[in-house]
């Protein structure tokens, strides 16, 4: 199961012209996975409204993919773009840490 969420809203760009590619690794529809996805969606809507793309990868379906992105903990959010690759683990409930992890500068 690979969900690709696209958002075409391009107003209020806060992070320049970069295209964001985020990959969320989960293992099945666990409450924690759902929470993480919801948190991620919210953060993206709020801070990246515009060019971002979220891929959700279920390791129960594609276990081989875990190796490529060095996944240990679940859920893990990987920022594939912009470079460098960054990893955030946990259910993304701590928004501030997520912003620091994704290197998103909040609007002042």
């Amino acid at each position: 199961m690979t969900n690709v969420e696209n958002s075409k809203m391009t107003n209020k760009t806060t992070t320049g012209e970069e295209k964001w590619l985020l990959r969320l690794y989960v293992a099945g529809q666990t409450p924690r996975a759902i929470t993480a996805f919801a948190n991620l969606k919210k953060i993206c809507e709020e801070y990246l409204d515009g060019s971002y793309q979220i891929e959700v990868i279920d390791l129960l379906v594609n276990p081989a993919l875990a190796k490529d992105d060095q996944i240990l903990a679940l859920p893990t959010l990987v920022r594939k773009l912009p470079e460098p690759v960054k990893k955030i683990i946990g259910d993304l409930s701590n928004t501030e840490r997520v912003l620091v992890g994704l290197d998103i500068r909040p609007i002042i």
């Binding site: 129960l60 903990a73 259910d91």
Partner: protein
């Protein structure tokens, strides 16, 4: 290398074991690691945890046809391949054959941001996927403690580790989990708490600048195991543990005798030489001729077609061959014929255990009938006396088990107490040949005697020997007023004896002639006396005859006179 046994060995209590294939380890653990359970291997840095884990997998894949998954948290798979190539393991080939999977788990705290709750399902999925892909039976996690430095939520980690180990058990894989030694605990993060079935502790100590590796099975639930610290070795053939001290004193005792190579020494040893499979100690001060004795023994054995292994700690092979040439031995020909093999190394080259293992390997490979260790006293340079003693004890036990005759030489310092050896192993030895430099009359001469020789009548004499072009030669015994005469004193005594015996013979001859003369003289006297006697007897006879005649004549005259007077018959005597 242990024999290939694809089936785990069941033990009495039904606990199945997975053989590691590592030399010695299976013997200590009585068959291997607990099957289907994780085993903790802990120890300090550089003690060989990773190697043990990897060798477990490699041997499993190669000898027991059990594929394995190596999950590395420290080294990348490329690095691992390179490191293990130096030990003779071709990891890439095994990976290519789908017998081994190496999964490098990269943990970099600076790249990971923790935001809320998480679990280690990702790791478990990765591991499970690798196990399922290969059908793996063996798993190594090296070292899972890296998680603690990468992730900060220790409570989560601990509960997840417990889950991970349960997962491994559910999968039925035999796992090795490595852990860094902690200050007061076996592992820094208390992994022993989770892996409770089998704990192996590796230790790497340096004493007198020489490092020795040791292994101990701290715990093995449900199975008996050796509890000692066993030395082990890492070399080009991987890991080897030496459980030799566990051997009992039940080695066979042969009554076959093998000559020493010196006929007169054989005579001293009950006429036949040493027992096969016995251990012989040759001690002596510097230059007493220990190596020459050994060369004699080796030469004689090679001539009989026996294989000899010569461990030299002081001289190179060429040096020994050259030196022994000077006393008439061509050891080079035996080397060329493959009957003699030299192993030359400095005692300080590596630790005792390494020596022991190296010697084991050489013996296993060459299968000699005779082993010479020249000299054992050098080993003291590599360790303490106690360690040397324990090492030699194990070595000798091993040789006895194999019925290999061992000749060890030992250098003693001049003026040392008799019956005392540098290494203190005299009690281990069956025969003890003592070479001595005897200093008398401004000379140093070589003497030898048998201090002991178990199980045979042996000479108690101190014998002088000399090194000639034909090797060692024992001389006749000359006992002078001050003990055994040696060197030129013996030569002088020999000459004196010869002169004395010549004198004696001459004296006898002279006496004999004198008797002869006396006899002649007496015989002459007897003749004279006899003649005299004859003469006197003649005189007497004549006298008697004369007297008789005179009597008769007188009687006749009387009768004639009476007749003339007409007298009656005379009645009286006439």
């Amino acid at each position: 290398m242990a024999e290939t046994n694809p089936n785990p060995q069941p033990v009495a209590d039904g606990l199945l074991k997975t053989p590691t294939g590592i030399k010695g380890l299976d013997e200590i653990t009585g068959g291997g690691l607990p099957q289907g359970r994780p085993t903790l291997v802990c120890g300090g840095t550089g003690c060989g945890k990773t190697l043990l884990a990897m060798e477990f997998l490699v041997r499993g894949a190669m000898q027991f046809d059990e594929p394995g998954v190596f999950m590395s948290f420290e080294e990348k798979s490329g690095e691992l391949s390179k490191n293990f190539a130096s030990l003779g393991f071709d990891l890439n080939e095994l990976v290519g054959q789908n017998k081994l999977a190496i999964d490098y788990v990269h943990i970099e705290p600076s790249e990971i941001e923790e935001t809320g709750e998480y679990d280690l399902e990702g790791l478990i999925i990765r591991l499970g996927y690798a196990i399922d892909t290969l059908g793996a039976k063996r798993v190594a996690l090296d070292t899972i403690e890296a998680l603690f430095s990468g992730l900060s939520n220790e409570a989560t980690l601990r509960s997840e580790l417990r889950r991970l180990f349960r997962f491994l058990k559910d999968k039925g894989v035999t796992a090795i989990v490595t852990g860094e030694q902690g200050e007061r605990t076996f592992t820094r993060f208390g992994l022993e708490e989770y892996v409770a079935d089998c704990v192996i502790f590796l230790n790497h100590t340096v004493s007198q600048q020489i490092a020795t590796r040791r292994m101990r099975v701290v715990k093995y639930r449900g199975s008996a195991h050796g509890t000692n610290e066993y030395p082990f070795l890492i070399d080009r053939q991987g890991f080897s543990v030496m459980p030799i001290s566990s051997l009992g004193l039940d080695h066979p005792a042969s009554s076959e005798r093998i000559p020493t190579g010196i006929p007169r020494l054989d005579v001293m040893l009950g006429g036949k030489g040493y027992y096969r499979g016995s251990s012989i100690l040759v001690t002596g001060t510097a230059g007493a001729g220990k190596t020459s004795m050994a060369a004699h023994f080796v030469d004689a054995a090679c001539m009989r077609g026996e294989r000899c292994l010569y461990f030299a700690f002081e001289e190179s092979q060429n040096q020994i061959i050259r030196n022994m040439n000077s006393i008439g031995f061509d050891l080079g020909q035996w080397v060329d014929q493959g009957l003699l093999q030299f192993h030359n190394s400095r005692a300080t080259l590596y630790g005792l255990e390494m020596h022991l293992v190296a010697m084991h390997r050489a013996i296993d490979g060459f299968k000699p009938g005779i082993v010479v260790i020249d000299p054992i006293s050098d080993l003291v340079a590599a360790a303490t006396e106690d360690e040397v003693k324990s090492m030699l004890c194990r070595m000798i036990d091993y040789l006895k088990m194999q019925q290999i005759t061992a000749l060890c030489t030992e250098l003693t310092s001049t003026g040392a107490i008799l019956g005392w050896t540098e290494v203190g192993i005299s009690s281990l030895m069956d025969a003890w040949l003592l070479l001595q430099i005897m200093e008398t009359g401004g000379e140093r001469n070589r003497g030898l005697y048998l201090l002991k020789s178990r199980g045979m009548a042996h000479s108690n004499q101190v014998r002088e020997f000399i090194l000639t072009d034909e090797g060692v030669q024992l001389r006749d015994v000359y006992i002078g007023p001050g003990g055994v005469l040696t060197g030129s004193a013996r030569d002088a005594q020999e000459a004196r004896d010869k002169a004395e015996s010549l004198d004696g013979q001459q004296e006898i001859e002279r006496k004999r002639r004198e008797i002869e003369r006396k006899k002649t003289a007496i015989e002459a006297q007897i003749t004279v006396l006899h003649t005299q006697f004859e003469a006197e007897k003649d005189d007497l006879d004549r006298l008697i005859a004369k007297e008789k005649q005179r009597g008769e004549t007188l009687a006749l005259d009387n009768r004639a006179m009476a007749k003339g007077r007409q007298a009656d018959e005379l009645t009286g005597p006439q």
